[in-house]
């Protein structure tokens, strides 16, 4: 009975992962057979200023997009869990960015951020605030990408929280209301604690998703200006398809994987100790 599942896991997960790991120790340039170089790629990564920058950018992107989008998502989910007119339409509207192609979203945001004709600078100008070259200014480019990332990430998280909210016992709220707890107090004392399992899931999935951000950067900034928005995945892409250095791309992927594994374990430990 388990044979198909094992075969699936072996062919589609174990073999590619092992191949990536093995190739990360080689100088593999597509044109010729891989050549074993031990930790050569990892040493180069360690000294690579651009990859270091990409790692930092990825951490910053994750640090801001994940909690902000989670925070907004849980509030939106709670609001949309109320009996509202057009509730379904609101839910669909919030979920829409999740099912829209990132490239399309990025194109829209390119327009919004356009320094000369974009509505963002138009609105700021109306209030007398000088506009900026949001995606061309190295001081603002990463933050501009983060804003799009937060906006795009709300939908799925909201959906998961909405599903989780359906399992919260209504009696808890009724009891709290009888005891005089305000809606805000109920939110912090009942809703958030009851959403903890969902929060763990959303957190892990969001971190993985944030660390894998690629298409947004690819369309919005191409990693620029001056590598101000390059990310780990973008460097993997550049190594593989610009430099033809598949071995290096594999090593960078392994580093990315190690980051994700570490963060997931830390999060799991924290949650476990919390549960105890």
């Amino acid at each position: 009975m388990v044979a198909p599942a094992v075969a699936h896991a072996a062919i589609w997960i174990a073999v590619p992962v092992l191949a990536t790991l093995v190739l990360s120790f080689t100088d593999y340039r597509v044109f010729a057979a891989p050549r074993w170089i031990g930790f050569g790629n990892y040493v180069e990564i360690w000294h690579d200023q651009v990859f270091r920058k990409a790692t930092w950018n990825t951490v910053v992107y994750t640090f801001f997009t994940v909690p902000f989008s989670m925070g907004i998502a849980v509030v939106v989910a709670v609001l949309l869990n109320q009996k509202l007119r057009l509730r379904t339409a609101y839910r669909a509207a919030f979920f829409l960015p999740q099912v829209t192609a990132t490239v399309a979203i990025a194109m829209v945001w390119l327009r919004i951020y356009n320094p000369q004709f974009g509505p963002l600078n138009g609105v700021l100008s109306f209030f007398g605030v000088p506009g900026r070259a949001w995606l061309a200014d190295p001081d603002w480019a990463l933050w501009s990408v983060i804003v799009v990332g937060v906006w795009q990430g709300i939908g799925l998280k909201m959906l998961i929280y909405l599903a989780a909210l359906q399992n919260v016992d209504e009696n808890l709220y009724e009891a709290a209301a009888i005891d005089g707890a305000s809606p805000v107090r109920q939110f912090f004392a009942i809703t958030l604690p009851m959403l903890k399992p969902a929060t763990f899931f959303v957190f892990v999935v969001s971190i993985i998703g944030a660390f894998q951000v690629f298409d947004l950067v690819y369309v919005l900034t191409d990693g620029g200006p001056a590598n101000a928005t390059t990310m780990m995945t973008y460097e993997v892409y550049r190594s593989a398809f610009q430099d033809f250095r598949m071995g290096m791309a594999c090593a960078q992927s392994v580093v990315l994987f190690a980051f994700l594994l570490f963060l997931t374990i830390v999060n799991r430990r924290l949650t476990r100790s919390d549960e105890k």
């Binding site: 044109f31 070259a133 995606l135 200014d137 550049r238 610009q242 430099d243």
Partner: protein, 432 residues
Amino acid sequence: MKIHRHRGRVGLLAAAAALSLVLTACGNGDTDGNQDDGDVSGELTMLTPIYEGTEGNRLLEEEILPAFYEEYPEVTVSVDYQTYGTLNEKLTTAVAGGLIPDVMMMGVGWVEAFAANGVLAELDSLGVTAESLAGDYTPQIVAGGTVDGSLYALPIMLDTRFGCARMDLLAEAGYEQPPASWEELRDYAVALTERDGSGTLQRAGFDMLSMDLRQMYEVFLFSAGGSLFNEGATEPTFNSAEGVAALEFITGLMNQDQVEDIGFSNTDADVHPLLNGRAAMAVCHNNLWIQLQEAAPELADQIQPFLINGTQPGMFFGGTLATVSASSENQQAALALAQFLAGPEPSLAANEQRGNVPALTELLDSGYVQGNPLVQFAMENLDVAQREGGPPQWLEIRGDFSPAIESALLEQKTPQQALDDLAEAARAAMGR
């Protein structure tokens, strides 16, 4: 009018097919290289970043390939359309997967990498040599398809970069001719730059941001008398005094003279700033003429190309070349297709569709070239044009150019530091 043109084109395509056969026969000096069209057969795959879009697809599938099939009825061609943005990915996965297309279109500067790694067939062994092309192409274009003295690619079209000026705007400022030197360029650009009362840029005196930064820099590098690599392409030379001077001039225009602001334009701008009056001068691509005809035909008499003159005239050219896979099972058929596409009329049609510069010098007299001032200008000045590329690692090196130029423009590094760091990365790549 259009139907008439198409009729004429189909007729010329048939003539081109015949001519390509003659060229093929001429190129095949030895018995091994001889190919009779009756012997040429097989199913070919072709990867191309040109003939893009509905019009490009139609041109290839309804005009060019049917004309090819008339001459080679035993050959069929499956086309994989890509863009230059995705070509690397496609080629990489094709090579890794062992499914290399029989005919591959690629850019100048790409040939070295694929030839050095045995992906491309040496055309000399198939009977076509650089010498046989010498009479039809300028030497530097043939050199773009030549590696270590062997021919690997047939030129189809060129993309050139040079200066363009809005003469009506220059006239308003009292200038009757485009700038003839860097100093004049700076003076003109400063005078032509316009800002509103709050200091917001309204018109760039000289737009540098609508062009890929690497290619924009290369125009100035070449005009400064610099080069990307030394003669044998064994050492980067773009960080020489000439290269640094070129980047200092660019950063000076941007940061000291403030003839343009970061973010004012970009390579994806819907309308080129020259066409909507947001720039008075720019480094432009020859296909600007296509956009001009669509967006601002009234400016046809106002856009004037000019060579950017430092210590010498500077012009950059890239291009698209047809190559044959070394692993193709139908190399003669693949060569026949590559030669056909590089022939006069198919290449003329492809260039006309993209607004590019035909590689064949005989096409200088064609109606298309004569009716397109930018293409005509490019062809008339190809003798001063220089290409990029050199070492097989160029594709790896070139990706680092834009961040380096950006870091200088943003004053994160001095031009010397930016180019030195880039040269260091280039040396590392060349040493691997």
